[in-house]
Symmetry: C2
């Protein structure tokens, strides 16, 4: 049997609290730019070099700023979206060009004596230091620190210092704002974003003193974008400062002369704002006000705020691992980026790539509700509140879409920025109706874990009601009274337009029930939405009668009607270079055979574990493991959780590592386009729900902890309502400690516990006595293994074709 | 209950042998241009006015001449065709402009005192006569006759006479060749062809004496097209003739003066040729040679040849009807246009619209093999031979496509001109694999009815082998040994990507068996194709084990797995203006519900009647009647045949009329884009296979004749091998007369008969004693009724939204 693929060595230093890069690999620059991206969920700055070039992919994003583009069809059809939305690279304020005796500081020329970048998750800053000798032989040292403020939403800042190693040397700093940067062309991969050229039309430009402001408007989507910069510049000698602006450029230049050992320091404050409706002066003033506030706070003030914010976050949300420092690094990297994506998104979507790159056109998918929000719920519930409020604001669009599709309630888009459906292939877009239930599940989890009843009344109820209405109209009762949902696509995109997808039906069942319960709790508000007792009863009835197919002969659940009758994919004759399959085989062939892109029935077993017996879980897991190729990054984490539940702890461990290392090791080969937020969040889920055994189906949390042999200890904290719970798992003992709040009921291995502050409760960690035989994956699709692991095969180190969505 | 739609009154005179139009309805001009289109299968001339304007849609086509155009996708996928093929309007040689004292003869100005056009099916000419007074008050009479020669493939001709009613009047005739005519824009209906602007690049122009030649080349497809005209011009006085040419125009002008009562006569010969490979001189010379031959034959010679050809055709192929002159006209109209489409197509495709218009981009579909060839087989088998030879020439492309799709053998395109797949929506394109079996069935029928063993050896065998290989690789055996075919689309395009479509599986079964039998008959040739006894055995085995789903509870065949579990379409709440449904509802909704665009399971019962019991046929027919909306023109004829078989003769009669009147009454509202060849052929099938009860599953023909009350007599002739059989059916008696050939075995109501020349055999025509209750259709989707029929509802005369593919 093949030993599968090998995870490449870490291109970064393995550090439990950060990512450190030595030197500069130009061929991997775009990947590093994603890894070193800074964001607060509102502003996103890719980790481009200060001087702008060389770059992999320049990127400055504002959450919600997109351009429209036509969606063409060779054969169009009713209800096909005509217009797509693509994230655009907005005005770049990061650029600080440096001239050393008139030679530009460009790492491609001269001699780069040292170069190091690092991102420390506790300080939330990208640090850089370089020592460079110019082609003319002058040597300088550059130190820069960059942050996107987690406390001041509209603000980013850079501190940039140049030291002359030998002197005297004339230094010119050009700190710029650049709109409509030229972008490298696409590589033909449909997964990469469409490149939109020069999307910004100039409306206002202003430069004076140390400040410059540019206001632009997008051509078709009509969004106004303002960007401003202001500076503090300190040098040992006279510093001359000039300000200039043109349509697409604002520039502050500082010129000075340094003697050997002298430094010039520039602090650059950036502010961004955008609006679809507000006037030009309003948006400009908003940016100028943010600049003023940032200047008032000062660089050290911003650094201190950032640190304080992150100290609080890690104190309450860290996941600690003993025994695997790679995994420790990866999971903190994951938590940090999930935090960055969600912290200040504020009624905007959380895109699949966060604000780290243009992948997937900057769209949000079910990834947000199904993978990212479950993590944020227990560490930053305010972000969940905001993300679901965004969904709520899109209800008018979702209702229109439902009406267009002939359905009641609301149909949320498969992919979007603003809220309209932007999917150009309905079998893998609109047909994936499960997104409605994914949203409903996120609502229920948020309300349950925060007890935010005001949110439930004003936001959650309506989301539940409108999705329940959609399900009730999408499904129907058959002749024998079963409620069936036909012609839909589940999570596995290698099947489509199937009848009674188990995941979808179980999720719809929960959605219908949750809506009925929520309406019962909020009868006045429900009545205002037109819900009467008949409608709620119809939801309950449909849920009770939900048809869940089961193959009695095989003793497993078919993923959907007829799935287990289909031909098996010919895995033996599918060579490694043919993955991901969707780039090498037609959909028709994938759809009609038993081959699974990503956890589907297995995800159903995680999120609706109550609907399966332990034996079914074990049999189903083994069956689907043989079929699942993980051509999506949304799979390994789920397989990790269910592998752990059925006792396959080492397999779970491998899947956890794969999910966690997706971007640090670029397992999908497309980290260049941005980080895989769902896989990063999934790594956290794999640990907490997999090895921690957390399930949150009911009002109290339940845990079934068990550790793989590779880990010595796992501990994590969770905020739930007013409580902060810490769970500490070793192979021998699991200890529940209440760090905040009154007594908290929970369950351990089915035993109800009550944890009070100052009185930790410990229980033995169960041991899987006779672990079942390790489940078998399709040849070559075993979880990727790491260097140094037992059984590592050296013959197939190529990472390019690993699963990636 | 709704009485359904009303067929509008005939805009043409009801004549058993022709179509006569009085006056000129500019709003219906495009429709008349299709109805009056002339073609021989190689050249197609729409019935545009001689003077070019006003026009509905100018059209001059050469079978096989197309331009490439990109097929765009909002989200592309592996195996999607990147390039489409669109029929183009080539150099127009029909134009004869007339100036009357310098005023152009334009029916929109001056006074049109009379205008009549007629097409007589026995002479194969479009006649026109007009009397017109110019705005300046001069009156002329114009008489023209136009033909596309059925005997000289490259030739068309016009005789054009102008008579001065008052005089003297100066007459200028400008006889033209015009390339890159400006076309009216599309109307957004995806069914209309893409309009391609100026597709022809000039290569050569020449005008001298009475002759002009233009040679062009298509920009992307690289096809060279030559067109030439030559003239005979006779006037009572001096006629001055000039010749001119420019890149896109050749013009012969004739000027004369007529006194009252005098005439000038112009005969215009047109010749066309094209090639993808031959040199410019070769193509030019081919056209000049054709012109020379046409001049040699002369106008009267061409007219006489045309008449002789058609006399022979009607003598052997006429379908005669007593009791319904509308239907008589319609079925001869149908036969005439099917003849025109197929007569001289010669190793080119027969498009869905013939050469009568640009609808469906000029593509050929399964229409040809499934509807057109069954008719041509018994009246012009040489055309079937040629059409199947065209398929055979496309085998290299079909093999490449199969390889791309991961299949063995050949996958023929769902829509094409040259042979490459041009479908831009695979669920309703590539997934319709049944086209392979449709081709195989046409091969088997042709060989059986002609005994053309040389064709079988050289052409038929390979088509059967390559399609059988495709089926063997497309399907698979399940755990209990059934052979299943999954993820395909049957004829009903309101379901897609279904498992075990009964039509597809039964057709595949026949295909597999036919291939095995043919290989046994031609062992040496089969071996040369790599067929060994193991492969043939695998085909037989798959056929024997073919899985045919059956719903025991309902006692009917589901169209495909799970179909009868689906929700019923809400027909009651679907208003008439929402048809055709595909323009008003999303595919996802259509696919997941029980609603049938066109006969699918019902077509299976026609073509594989041996696979169903009589009781199953009756039950299935009634079940699917309730679901079938006939949003395709490929449905009424099949429903007619099966309605007749299950004894619903009046219903069959209504469906026959709908199929037959599809274009004469523009029931689909899109006759403007060209005639529906399959529906026209289907009208013939409805009569012969429906009321004649012809089945040709086996070596001898079988008949189960029965007449609806509306008809007094139906008779038709069929050529089969060396025989010519005439079948004459009245309500009392059916008489089989052999008009050519030795003794012919056949069966009548299951009784074997043997018919010999000079010894007609008569048998009683069975009477359906107690006709079953009339099957019920979806509300408003009953077969359209004609004026004067009982129960005609007057409230809904709009024809626009009748079913049309």
């Amino acid at each position: 049997m093949s030993q599968g693929r090998l995870i490449p060595a870490d291109p970064f230093d393995v550090d439990p609290w950060g990512v450190i890069e030595h030197g500069l690999d130009l061929s991997a620059q775009a990947r590093s730019e994603s890894v070193f991206a800074l964001s607060n969920g509102h502003i996103g700055l890719r980790g481009n070099l200060d001087e702008g070039e060389p770059h992999g992919l320049p990127g400055t994003y504002l959450n919600g700023v997109f351009e429209l583009r036509p969606l063409p069809y060779a054969e169009s059809g009713y209800g096909y979206p005509e217009s797509g939305q693509s994230v655009i690279n907005i005005t770049n304020g990061k650029i600080i060009r440096l001239l050393v005796d008139d030679e530009p500081f460009d790492l491609r020329y001269g001699e780069l004596r040292s170069h190091q970048r690092s991102l420390d998750f506790r300080e939330g800053m990208l640090r850089r230091s370089a020592e460079w000798t110019s082609p003319a032989g002058r040597t300088i040292r550059v130190e820069s620190r960059r942050l996107v403020s987690l406390t001041q939403r509209a603000v980013a800042a850079v501190e940039y210092q140049v030291e002359a190693v030998d002197g005297p040397v004339r230094i010119v700093l050009q700190s710029e704002l650049v709109a409509n940067e030229q972008l490298p062309g696409g590589d033909g991969d449909p997964r990469a974003a469409a490149v939109l050229e020069a999307p910004l039309m100039a409306e206002l430009r202003h430069a004076d003193g140390t400040k410059a402001v540019l206001v632009h408007r997008t051509r078709y989507s009509g969004l106004r974008v303002a960007a401003g910069i202001d500076h503090l510049i300190e040098g040992p000698e006279r510093v001359d400062i000039t300000a200039e602006s043109s349509e697409d450029q604002g520039r502050i230049s500082a010129t000075t002369v340094l003697e050997a050992g002298q430094k010039v320091r520039l602090v650059k404050f950036m502010a961004y704002g955008w609006s679809a409706t507000r006037s030009l002066p309003a948006v400009r003033d908003q940016v100028e006000a943010a600049l003023t506030a940032a200047r008032y706070t000062g660089w050290e003030g911003l650094v201190a705020e950032q640190k304080e914010f992150l100290t609080g976050f890690w104190a309450d949300s860290d996941i600690e691992i003993d025994g695997d420092v790679e995994l420790q690094q990866a999971v903190r990297f994951a938590l940090f980026h999930v935090l960055q994506a969600g912290a200040r998104s504020e009624e905007r979507a959380i895109p699949a790539k966060g604000l780290t790159g243009p992948g997937y056109d900057g769209h949000s998918f079910w990834d947000t509700e199904a993978f990212v929000l479950p993590v944020l719920t227990y560490c930053m519930p305010s972000a969940v509140n905001q993300a679901l409020r965004w969904r709520h604001t899109t209800l008018p669009m979702a209702r229109d879409r439902a009406a267009q599709l002939g359905l009641a309630g609301a149909v949320f888009p498969w992919r979007t920025i603003r809220g309209e459906e932007c999917s150009g292939y309905w079998p893998a877009g609109t047909a994936a109706f499960h997104i409605g239930a994914d949203i409903a599940r996120a609502v229920v989890r948020y309300v349950r874990s925060t007890n935010d009843l005001e949110f439930e009344r004003t936001i959650g109820l309506e989301l539940l009601v409108e999705t329940a209405r959609m399900w009730r109209s999408l499904g129907h009762h058959d002749a024998v009274g079963r409620f069936r949902i036909e012609g839909v696509t589940g999570p596995d995109e290698y099947s489509a337009i199937a009848d009674n997808n188990v995941f979808t039906n179980l999720m719809a069942q929960s959605n219908l029930r949750s809506a009925a319960e929520c309406a019962t709790r909020n009868q006045m508000e429900a009545a205002a939405l037109g819900v009467d007792t008949e409608e709620a009863a119809a939801w309950r009835d449909a849920a009770d009668k939900m048809y869940i197919p089961y193959d009695e002969t095989l003793g497993i659940h078919p993923q959907a009607d007829g799935f287990t009758d289909h031909q098996l994919w010919d895995f033996e004759n599918t060579p490694p270079e043919k993955y991901p399959l969707l780039l090498h085989y037609p959909y028709f062939d994938l759809y009609r055979k038993q081959v699974v892109k990503q956890a589907d029935l297995v995800l159903a077993m995680q999120v609706r574990g109550d609907a399966f017996t332990d034996e079914q879980k074990a049999r189903n897991f083994a069956y689907y493991e043989r079929l699942t190729v993980r051509d999506s990054s949304l799979s390994a984490c789920t397989q990790a959780v269910m592998a752990a539940e059925v006792g396959q702890l080492d397999l779970a461990y491998d899947y956890t590592a794969e999910a966690a290392l997706m971007d640090l090791r670029d397992l999908g080969g497309n980290t260049r386009d941005g980080l895989h937020m769902a896989s990063l969040a999934g790594a956290c889920i794999a640990l907490v729900a997999g090895f921690g055994g957390l399930r949150d189906h009911t009002d109290s949390l339940s845990f079934r902890p068990r550790l793989p042999s590779g880990l010595r200890r796992l501990s994590f904290s969770m905020g739930i309502r007013e409580h902060l719970l810490r769970v500490d798992i070793t192979h021998e003992t699991t200890t529940y400690t209440l760090r905040r709040g009154g007594a908290l009921p929970l369950s351990h291995e089915g035993e109800p516990l009550r944890v009070e502050r100052g009185r930790p409760v410990s229980r033995p960690t169960p041991v899987v006595e006779s672990p079942p035989e390790r489940a078998v994956q399709p040849p070559g699709r075993e979880p990727a293994r790491r260097h140094g692991q037992a059984g590592v095969a050296q013959q197939n180190p190529t990472p390019d074709h690993l699963a990636a969505e």
